[in-house]
């Protein structure tokens, strides 16, 4: 593959400074700077004392991330395609080591101590998966829409998910799903299969959540919902749906009638979803599911799982148009708002800078993402587009879930707001990703 380049007279050359995309870089830098400001703000307590050095730590992380950013510019980005599987399996190995020797933080064995630093291999796994998937899809371009390619891609995704779920860290696990869909979609994987998978996913979550929804959120009984409570009834229903699905499939084989196929698909999807939701519910406790859906009605548990949502909503809402001013937020400084520097950093920002600041951050992210995709179209190489899409969509998904959580329209999953939340691993991982896109841009005319 690489040999073709020289044939075109586009041999490797040094990246030029003018090839550097300053917009992509400085928007990222702006987001990091705002992040530091509000990590600082979150460390100020009710009597105006600074109680936390986290902002200094974050500046150190950022300095490291920027060095990494420029180091990544040195090698040809294509080299990362070559190294993709090595990186992937090394990272898998790290995850296994973490499961065995990792530190337990917040109930999950997700931290690995390395040279006195704490590292979360799961954060880097997101990037490793993007690279591996992109490399694999690029290699399978000829039969990209085949069932086999789809399954291998899916397996590549599921392997780290299982390891991270074992930590257990549900929030991080979830991020792998949109990465898979985004990379597969842009690579041109079988869209029917993608659609089925997505349907199963949505239905499974729906079925798994329904009983808890009924009990804690609606707080009234619906007779038909006992279907999900009674194990035997549930298994029976699952079997019936699968059976009908198989029957319809056979019917299609013999008669060739198109509607048989739709019947088969519908019943099979519902049957499989019911089955998986059963497995899911038997492995999760009610309170775990409750935590995920409490954002719908936080008032049902205002002191417990609903506390975060209520406090965050109050902080964001009370910000108004211009906010209460930097360091003048009450919800945050009086410590009503939990996990301010990590999960709820956007809440402080929205409280102290108001609607104006919130929109500024949203627009910065939008600029970053759209500029990123624009660059991908300029580069126009399969691997670059796949990997770039994976990286950008990962950043977008973090944004969507994290800010959605602070606004009470997404479940509380502990997913950080990339570039702004306190923490090194996610920062480095995302910075690495953007550096890769920058690298692609630098060499856009070289292939």
């Amino acid at each position: 593959m690489i040999g073709t380049k020289s044939g075109l007279g586009m041999g490797e050359s040094k990246p030029s400074l003018f090839g550097f995309d300053f917009l992509l870089f400085f928007v990222m830098l702006a987001l990091m700077a705002i992040g530091v400001l509000f990590i600082y703000s979150s460390g100020v307590n009710s009597v105006g004392e600074l109680t936390s050095e986290e902002y200094i730590q974050q500046i150190i992380w950022i300095a490291g991330a920027l060095i990494l950013y420029f180091v990544v510019q040195i090698p040809q980005y294509r080299n990362f395609e070559k190294w993709a599987f090595t990186i992937y399996f090394l990272n898998i190995l790290l995850l296994i080591v973490t499961l065995m020797f990792g530190k337990v933080v917040n109930g999950a064995r997700s931290w690995l101590g390395l040279f006195g630093f704490g590292v979360q291999p799961s954060e880097f796994m997101k990037l490793s998966l993007v690279l591996a998937l992109s490399a694999y899809y690029n290699r399978s371009t000829a039969n990209i829409a085949s069932f086999r390619t789809f399954i291998v891609g899916l397996l590549l995704t599921i392997l780290p998910m299982i390891l991270i779920l074992m930590q257990p860290d549900m929030g991080t696990t979830l991020v792998f799903i949109p990465i898979f869909f985004a990379v597969s979609f842009v690579a041109g994987a079988n869209s029917k299969l993608l659609f089925y998978l997505m349907s199963i996913g949505i239905l499974t979550v729906f079925f798994a959540v329904l009983p808890v929804w009924e009990r804690y959120i609606l707080q009234q009984e619906y007779r038909w919902l006992t279907l999900f409570e009674d194990v035997r009834l549930l298994l029976l229903t699952t079997a019936v749906f699968l059976f009908v699905g198989v029957l319809a499939f056979i019917g299609k084989k013999y008669t060739g009638q198109a509607y048989f196929r739709w019947i088969a698909v519908f019943f099979a999807l519902v049957g499989v979803s019911l089955g998986i939701s059963f497995l899911l519910r038997s492995s999760l406790k009610d309170y775990q599911i409750m935590r995920l859906i409490v954002f719908i009605r936080p008032e049902v548990d205002p002191r417990g799982s609903g506390w975060h949502v209520i406090q965050s909503l109050t902080a964001v809402g009370s910000g108004g148009l211009w906010g209460k001013g930097f360091l003048h937020g009450t919800q945050s400084h009086y410590q009503f708002l939990p996990e301010q520097s990590t999960d709820f950093i956007f809440s402080i920002l929205a409280e102290e800078w108001g609607f104006a600041g919130s929109v500024l951050v949203m627009l910065l992210f939008a600029t970053l993402l759209i500029r990123g995709f624009w660059i991908l179209l300029q580069v126009g190489d399969n691997f670059a587009v796949y990997a770039g899409t994976g990286i950008l969509f990962m950043i977008f998904f973090h944004l969507l879930v994290n800010i959605g959580m602070t606004l009470g329209i997404m479940p509380i999953t502990g997913i950080p707001l990339i570039f702004m939340s306190y923490g090194g691993s996610s920062l480095w991982s995302a910075c690495f990703g953007l550096a890769l896109i920058q690298n692609m841009y630098l060499r856009r005319y070289k292939y």
Binding site: V316, S318, T330, F336, I370, T389, G404
Partner: protein, 621 residues
């Protein structure tokens, strides 16, 4: 290979639709979030701002000074407030080790155990900045001791929390009552009237009855706190200053109260002194009483339990909360009925042989050999049972007796302005049928005729009966409150006017005749040798009721004086002793001392000196 190589245009054509659709998804999501932020921060912004303020605002009450209670002289208060402090610890200011140290030092200063201090601060409170009360009722010198060494007591604060002083009230505690912390049940009932979990309120007596006047209303101090309850803004601003409670001036005369208390001595019983023409209670004693100061000291619960279990029932105000057979004092009611109904010729003599046979039972007179022939006047004076047996059974009948008893207020509340009074009982055939399911017989009428049987009255009701006679047909509602006074300017806010409780339809000549006959009791009857006072002309009636048990009587004396003075000057004195021996057969003697003291303006010692009862100086049981 060919797939891997393509011109930029091919790539753009291939990926453009997919990447554009992804960008669309991202764009729509971000626009939706901005719209939602607009909804939260702009549309509902002020609602959330109020919520944010409410979350962090705390209101602490500033206690109002409770009003003081005076007697009718309105000079020195009977009940006042003592400056006192509550000592608190703010757990958030201390580490566990420091807390241990401070608790150790405090235990020495406050005289409470270190363990009990630490127990007051559960682990869950350790990081909070909410003050936890360690001890209340701490005197000023202890606080100044701590204040001088505040460096040794980090995290220790105090605030003024006055306690009630009942130091010299003695027997007055029964009607004054006392205050205590609000109970959960009381809070449920009174929450809407502005009480809260920290309220102190009157539990009994005047303190309870007039709690609304006494307590004032607490002020409010607003402050902004963080999630741990730590105050955020240094400047506390008082939004509403407290309104102090008003003072009460009672109808009680503490000199008469003291006199009455000493005249009754250490005898289980009650004494009431009433101004007949207004219903003002001048003295009200019930023995034994209790010391409410103990409820604000260490081991309060032990004392409380001790009082509650005492067989002499010191918590009961015998003047209104217990009823007794009126015994021979009831003959006054019988006499009134006989005269008003003209049921018998008062001059007509009935021969007392010492007993009367009713059915197959004999009813005795208290003189075994009999009084011989007696008319109404001598029958009352000698308290001849046989005469009244006859009167009740053959001339009045139970219906008339009950009607007259009720017209005097027996069996009804007197409406006194302290809680807890009992009704007593006027038995009737209907009552007996309903209670015992047995018919009324002649013997029942005979018993009621001399104030025995199921008939029972409180000393306060007895005082009202005498007041009716002394007032010739009017009874005023007995009351303790005379005036409500604003403590800041000594202005009288409210003056309690006498209120007619009941007006009798009995002719006033009848009352005057009864007065004469009661005077005759003193000059020529059963009280002749005992009522020796020359300070006042007394009219009254003795009574001795058997209480079922051997050697157990209720001894009464119900009287007023001066006998012939204008109605406004007449004072009612009722004494009642639950007697178990001769020393306790005392009601008439007590009344003699009380009349002497009141009308000669003497205290107990001077009174007994004047009565030549000097031997009483050593009268302690």
């Amino acid at each position: 290979m060919s797939e891997a190589y393509h011109s930029l245009d091919t790539v753009k054509r291939r990926f453009k639709p997919r990447i554009y659709s992804i960008i669309t998804v991202i764009g729509i999501s971000i626009l939706f979030y901005i719209a939602f932020l607009y909804h939260l921060q702009i549309v509902k912004g002020s609602e959330y701002q109020n919520r944010a303020r409410a979350v962090s605002r705390r209101v602490t009450p500033i206690p109002a000074q409770r009003g003081e209670i005076f007697d009718r002289n309105h000079d020195a208060p009977l009940v006042s407030n003592i400056d006192s402090f509550a000592v608190n610890i703010i757990p958030g200011d201390l580490s566990d080790r420091e807390l241990d140290e401070v608790a150790g030092k405090l235990s020495g200063v406050l005289a409470v155990s270190k363990e009990s201090i630490i127990k007051k601060i559960p682990q869950a409170y350790r990081s909070l900045y909410q003050a936890v009360e360690i001890k209340s009722g701490v005197p000023f010198h202890t606080i100044s001791h701590i204040a001088e060494r505040i460096d040794e007591f980090p995290g220790v604060t105090w605030q003024s929390k006055p306690i009630r002083n009942y130091r010299d009230v003695d027997s007055m505690i029964h009607f004054l009552g006392y205050v205590g912390n609000i109970s959960r049940e009381e809070l449920q009932v009174m929450y809407n009237r502005g009480y809260n979990i920290n309220s102190v309120l009157g539990k009994t007596g005047v303190e309870r009855q007039y709690d609304d006047i006494l307590r004032g209303s607490p002020g409010k101090r607003y402050k902004v706190v963080d999630v741990q309850g730590r105050q955020v803004q240094e400047r506390q601003y008082v939004e509403e200053p407290p309104i102090n409670g008003n003072d009460l001036v009672l109808t009680i005369d503490r000199n008469i109260q003291k006199l009455t208390e000493e005249a009754l001595g250490e005898r289980m019983g009650s004494a009431v002194v009433l101004d007949a023409s207004t219903g003002e209670i001048l003295a009200m004693v019930s023995y034994p009483w209790f010391d409410a100061n103990r409820f604000y000291q260490a081991e309060a619960e032990r004392y409380y339990r001790q009082y509650a279990l005492d067989p002499k029932h010191p918590f009961i105000n015998r003047s209104i909360q217990a009823s007794y057979s009126p015994a021979s004092t009831f003959k006054v009611v019988m006499t009134t009925a006989a005269l008003e109904e003209e049921a018998i010729d008062p001059e007509r003599e009935i021969n007392c042989t010492g007993r009367l046979r009713v059915g197959n039972r004999y009813f005795n007179c208290h003189v075994e050999e009999g009084h011989g022939p007696v008319d109404l006047t001598s029958g009352l004076a000698e308290s001849c049972n046989v005469y009244f047996y006859n009167l009740g059974l053959n001339h009045l009948g139970i219906e008339a007796i009950a009607r007259y008893a009720r017209s005097y207020g027996f069996g009804e509340f007197t409406g006194i302005d302290i809680p807890g009074e009992v009704r007593g009982l006027v038995p009737t055939p209907e009552w007996k049928a309903a209670t015992y399911n047995s018919p009324w017989v002649g013997g029942d009428t005979v018993n009621v005729s001399i104030g025995q049987g199921a008939l029972s009255v409180t000393p306060m009701q007895m005082a009202n009966m005498i007041a009716m006679i002394a007032n010739e047909g009017h009874v005023y509602r007995p009351h303790l409150l005379k005036q409500v006074v604003d403590p800041s300017n000594a202005q009288v806010i409210e003056e309690v006017e006498p209120e007619v409780l009941r007006t009798s339809s009995i002719r006033s000549e009848v009352f005057r005749e009864v007065q004469d006959k009661m005077r005759y009791v003193i000059t020529d009857g059963t009280a002749e040798v005992v009522i020796t006072t020359e300070a006042v002309k007394v009219a009254g009636k003795t009574g001795t009721g058997e209480v079922g048990l051997e050697n157990s009587w209720t001894a009464w004396f119900a009287a007023y004086g001066p006998y012939d003075a204008p109605i406004e000057d007449r004072i009612v004195v009722v004494t009642m002793v639950e007697a178990g021996n001769d020393w306790e057969w005392w009601a008439v003697r007590a009344a003699n001392i009380i009349f002497q003291g009141i009308f000669a303006d003497q205290n107990y010692d001077e009174a007994i000196e004047a009565l030549n009862w000097g031997w009483l100086h050593n009268d302690r049981h």
